[in-house]
Amino acid sequence: MRISRRTLAAAAAVAVVLPLSSCGSGDDGAGSTDASGKVEGDITFQTWNLRANFKPYFEGLIDGFEKKYPGTHVKWVDQPAEGYADKISADAAGGTLPDVVNVSPDLVAPLAKAGLALDLDKSAAKYRKEYLDGAWASHQIPGMTGTYAFPWYLNTGPLFYNKSLFEKAGFDAAKPPTTYDELFADALQLAKKSDGKVATLANVPTIEDFGRYGVELMSKEGTGFAFNDAKGVELLTRYKELYDAKALDPQALTATPESSGKKFLTEAVAMNPGSALDLGNFKKQAPNLYKNIGITDQITSTGKVNMYVMGVMVNSRTKHTPASVAFAHYVTDAQNQMSFAKKVAIFPSTAGSLDDPYFTKEDGTDETRVRIAAAKSLKNAVNYTPVLFSEQMKTALRNEVAKALQGKESPKSALDNAVKACDTLLKQQG
């Protein structure tokens, strides 16, 4: 058989045209939103970097579900923390998104907009009352109606400080700063006393910091960003003072939360936000620091601390909606959240769980003290990061903040630029 030129030309044309086909709207392929049928079938559950430390817990959880619902089979996959959003986006774009997925609110927003997240207000409204109101609302998307993930665990944490560094600067280590004014004053003093060798903070202000400082982050309608107001400019101006005095670490402009955590561990930085989970790390990795560790509340002008929310989303294209919804609920129900919380320093998002003695009764240890304080603060905590604030927006803000700190832009014009860039990205997101 001879391969003709025409055949070759046709093959080449297909190769060229094939990518164009992906620009079309594509097959909708939506699954059912009805979760009321029989709970059965094989589903896949994806977690976010949890296998290494919690394998027995999740295996037990899945066993429990499969026993409760014979005829179901749950395949558990775990993805590393690094590049998790990229993995989800590749799966979502390739149509291979698992049936039940561990997400954060900012990951849910684009998935919901693309029609890939099941609206639980429609499919699982009966479970709504089991969760804290704020937690349930955390997976609602501005501009859309509905709730797109079950709230799972919550996290918040105190501000850790190095008592020894504070004492060396002449402060009473038992009285850490509790307001922004005190924090900035102490930081400047500490830098001065150490001749610029010890910084108090290691991260530039993020959108959460602006929120905690009392800055209005978005317009009331949720259609644009507003963190360039007078309060936002004030916060950035004060950070610039810190940066100039080396009270903010000189490498803060390129720091990540991990790198600033290491700076705190090596006692190059005097304060760092963290969670109860960090105490174990300090004990193991930096015993000297652990001896000098001070714990204080997050500093906030609003009276509401920041919290992080994790969720469990159901893929709207799942072929087994009842089983997927049932499993997502099972993972996040009060009993299973409580049992997970006892294995790791996180907090359940189910109503009433935070009143459990585990979160209210002191036993004299630091871990318990941090846990109780955090659980108490969670009752009116806020997830300050807007769900529509994408990675690209975070980069835009960090870059403009860096320009202001370096003196290349005034704080006002830097924030104006950041808001403009974020608004443009918001419009492009559709």
Partner: protein
């Protein structure tokens, strides 16, 4: 001896057989090279996003590039990278190859040692250099001890870029050294001997014998290193962080592609347009190097 009918059969089969043998190759090239390439070009004319197919927007992405400050920063840094790294990667590995060329006892150790950075993981290499150049790292400790004071290798825009270039050169030395060693092995010894007899010293022999003999290899090294320098990602990403240094001032074009086009809200169409620019510049760069080589030959 084959009959005439079987010869005819073989002739009839011949045109098909090569295609069948080549088919797996074509398939791999088509699926993993041509398809992604054509797809990138097509996407560059759309407003495609990660989860939204997008529509044809003509040259809008390319027009937007002209007004995108980050694009110009990326283009500047990628170009500076070529200018800073390529001359060093053309000359230094040649000198290194000359040093380790001789067959003296123990020289294999040095050849292996110089090649080690090439096989080391770039992530590990990046982390080690970050530790070394940190404000409280070894290099700064030494500088402070000798009274120079701490230098912000990882916090200053230009020092960061220079540090990343140094790492690229450090990693590339061994690789290009091996290429030069192969080229030097082919330089006739008689030429050196003749030059020596004529009274040429080592420096003169280097310029009159060695350099002309390995000139085509130098062009090859120049072309390879300029393409990889223009497309640099890992070194800058690891040392400057995902934002590309303070205020993104150390961003390179490939970092910009990664930052713009990935994640759930990635602008795939726009990132593809940047990729097309990178491709065009790379091709132009190759053509310029090869053209310069041809001119010198004539």
């Amino acid at each position: 001896m084959a009959s005439s009918s079987s010869t005819a059969r073989v002739r009839r089969q011949l045109p098909t057989s090569p295609w069948l043998f080549a088919a797996p190759g074509f398939l791999v090239v088509g699926v993993f090279i041509l398809y992604p390439f054509v797809s990138t070009v097509v996407n560059s004319f759309t407003d495609r996003r990660t989860l939204i197919p997008g529509e044809f927007v003509g040259l809008a992405n390319f027009r937007e590039l002209l007004h995108d400050e980050m694009f110009w920063i990326g283009l500047r840094n990628s170009t500076l990278y070529v200018l800073g790294v390529v001359p060093a990667l053309v000359l230094l590995p040649l000198l290194l190859a000359l040093l380790v060329q001789k067959n003296i006892p123990g020289i294999t150790f040095f050849r292996s040692a110089f090649y080690t950075p090439v096989v080391a993981s770039i992530v590990v290499v990046g982390l080690i250099w970050v530790w070394l150049l940190d404000e409280r790292g070894l290099v700064n400790a030494v500088l402070e001890a000798i009274g120079v004071g701490r230098v912000g290798f990882l916090s200053d825009q230009w020092l960061l870029l220079l540090s990343a270039m140094a790492v690229t050169v450090w990693r590339g030395l061994g690789y290009y050294m091996i290429i030069y060693l192969a080229a030097l092995a082919n330089v006739p010894r008689e030429l050196h001997e003749a030059a020596s007899v004529d009274g040429a010293g080592p420096v003169r022999r280097f310029f009159t014998v060695t350099v002309p003999a390995v000139r085509s290899t130098m062009v090859l090294v120049g072309a390879l290193s300029s393409v990889s320098a223009f497309k640099v990602f890992s070194e800058v990403y690891l040392m400057a962080g995902p934002d590309g240094g303070p205020a993104g001032e150390d961003t390179t074009l490939v970092m910009l592609v990664q930052r713009t086009g990935t994640g759930l809200t990635g602008r795939v169409g726009y990132a593809s347009a940047i990729s097309v620019v990178v491709f065009v510049v790379t091709v132009v760069l190759m053509l310029l190097v090869l053209r310069a080589d041809r001119k010198e030959e004539t």
